[in-house]
């Protein structure tokens, strides 16, 4: 792997930025160069949110992603907005519990994960974002599932340590999903 540009998008409140932070910390703990750039401002308050994460073996140039290698979408407007920006040969991860459209492109690898449904079923209804991340890790062997708990611990404040277990549950569900 040289450089992977990851765009995560959805509604504000779905944990889009948190998911991006998870990937950024995962990269950091694996000694990669990383950048994390959030959308900020009005769109964060209930509208669409997106987050640019770059993982690289080299220093990161521009942190702004125009042509992602990996697109992770958790609502329909985001899929429609970004589907054609993904580079040929790239990956698209779709929360198919919320997005019922199929991707028409044939030059990308598409993964449909009913993440919101899976999160509800697993009793971690707010963690569909981490179900998605679990499935991303599954398809990115360079990010290994190993060390995931250490990553989550970096993200969860000590006072809310019980959330580590819930996040792991969501991540494992995403990893084990056979689409």
């Amino acid at each position: 792997m040289k450089t992977t540009q990851i765009l995560i998008a959805g509604f504000g409140g779905q944990g889009i930025l948190f998911a991006g932070k998870f990937l950024a910390y995962k990269g950091l703990l694996e000694d990669l160069q990383v950048s994390w750039l959030p959308s900020y401002g009005p769109e964060m308050r209930g509208g669409t949110a997106n987050c640019n994460v770059i993982l690289s073996e080299n220093p990161v140039g521009s942190p702004i992603i125009t042509d992602p290698d990996v697109l992770i979408v958790m609502n329909l407007p985001s899929l429609q907005k970004y589907v054609n920006t993904v580079v040929p040969g790239g990956q698209i991860y779709v929360d198919s519990a919320l997005i019922h459209e199929k991707v028409e492109r044939t030059d990308v690898q598409v993964y449909y994960i009913p993440a919101t449904q899976m999160a509800n079923d697993a009793g971690v209804s707010t963690l569909a974002n981490m179900v998605m991340m679990g499935h991303v890790l599954k398809n990115h062997p360079e990010l290994t599932f190993e060390g995931t708990e250490a990553t989550v611990q970096k993200l969860v404040p000590p006072a809310k340590a019980q959330l580590v277990e819930l996040n792991m549950k969501a991540l494992q569900a995403g990893r084990d999903y056979e689409g």
Binding site: Y25, V34, L37, G41, P42, G61, S62, P63
Partner: protein
């Protein structure tokens, strides 16, 4: 090597300021820099420092003026419209020769503008903003690590020259997270015999003031201040050069624009174009020597800016218009793509073939 942690650019500024010995923060919230105030609000009370959210930007800059006059390491931070409000105070601080540290995490303007990243306060930062003959040292970080290192440098330069040092960042660098490590460095301190610390009945009163009603006296202070500025220009200019050894086209960009430009330069090199980048790290003093030297070597310059073309004037001045300088820009919160910069490089190349 210290541990690498992920931090937002804004938080990196706040942490670095504390490590540089800043114990006084006065501010007023505004997007996209509010994380600085939030970090200070959390940390300052724990280390015996002062965090104060003032009733306005104007109040906060005058609190900075007061604390600086008392010899404290002090800072404020804001974003574009807020810096306009602080500009009167910046002029008073300059006229009083006290050291202060200011952060402007720019957003689109003019007016209330927008909240997305911009570099349209270049003129305001480098040419004044407030009234009167004065300059500030203007530092333009291009990474989260530099947000921290230039903050530390800013405090030192401010104390060393008894003037304001400003970080001129933008919403992107403020909001993004990158790995950063804080090296434990000695905090350099400076004697401040001019500060208002109480005479203890042992010395004459110090006076910090910017009012000189006698014109000859005011002229003297201005001449003296410009001697100091001359020393800053001679000694403190900072820049980075990238692939300039054999360059025929020189891209000039600072802050977030330089990150985009670097990608474009790398892409252009793949096409066989001989292009390099000069990234001013100090915007005032502008790296005139580097630009002048480049003008001896390259055939054209491309200025990449998130504004309608402000730094381009300094490039033309530094190079005495010996080479064509074209502008590649977006404004209002938009950021050029590497593709747009690449196109501008190709155009510049066509112009000199």
């Amino acid at each position: 090597m210290a541990e690498r942690v992920l931090m937002k650019g804004n938080e990196a500024i706040a942490e670095a300021a504390i490590r540089a010995g800043c114990r006084h923060y006065f501010g007023y919230p505004i997007t996209p820099q509010t994380e600085i105030a939030a970090y200070m609000a959390k940390k300052m009370p724990k280390i015996g420092g002062v965090f104060l959210q003032a009733e306005s930007e104007i109040a906060s800059i005058n609190m900075v003026y007061g604390a600086a006059a008392a010899g404290m390491r002090v800072m404020t931070s804001s974003s574009s419209p807020g810096i306009s409000l602080k500009s009167e105070g910046l002029s008073y601080i300059a006229g009083s020769d006290v050291p202060a540290f200011i952060v402007n995490v720019q957003r689109g303007g003019p007016g209330l503008g927008g909240i997305q990243p911009s570099q349209s306060d270049y003129f305001q930062a480098t040419k004044g903003g407030g009234h009167g003959d004065y300059h500030m040292i203007v530092l333009a970080p291009a990474s989260v690590q530099e947000m921290a290192s230039l903050t530390v440098k800013g405090f030192h330069l401010a104390d060393k020259y008894r003037m304001t040092a400003m970080i001129l960042a933008d919403g992107t660098i403020g909001q993004m997270m990158e790995p950063i490590s804080f090296e434990d460095a000695e905090v350099e301190t400076y004697e401040k015999p001019w500060a208002l610390t109480g005479t203890g009945m042992k010395r004459p009163h110090n006076i910090v003031n910017s009012l000189y009603l006698k014109p000859d006296e005011l002229e003297r202070t201005n001449f003296a201040r410009y001697e100091k500025y001359k020393a800053v220009e001679e000694n403190e200019a900072l820049w980075e050069e990238y692939q300039m050894e054999d360059a025929e086209i020189c891209v000039v960009a600072f802050g977030i624009a330089s990150r985009v430009a670097k990608n474009a330069v790398a892409d252009a090199r793949k096409e066989g174009l001989k292009v390099g980048l000069i990234r001013p790290i100090t915007l005032w003093p502008f790296p005139v020597a580097a630009l002048r030297r480049a003008a001896d070597q390259v055939k054209a310059f491309v200025s990449v800016e998130l504004n309608m073309g402000q730094m381009i004037e300094d490039i033309r001045l530094a190079t005495e218009c010996r080479r064509p300088v074209s502008l590649c820009n977006r404004t209002g919160g938009m950021i050029p793509s590497p593709q747009q910069v690449l196109e501008a490089i190709r155009e510049a190349q066509k112009g000199v073939n």
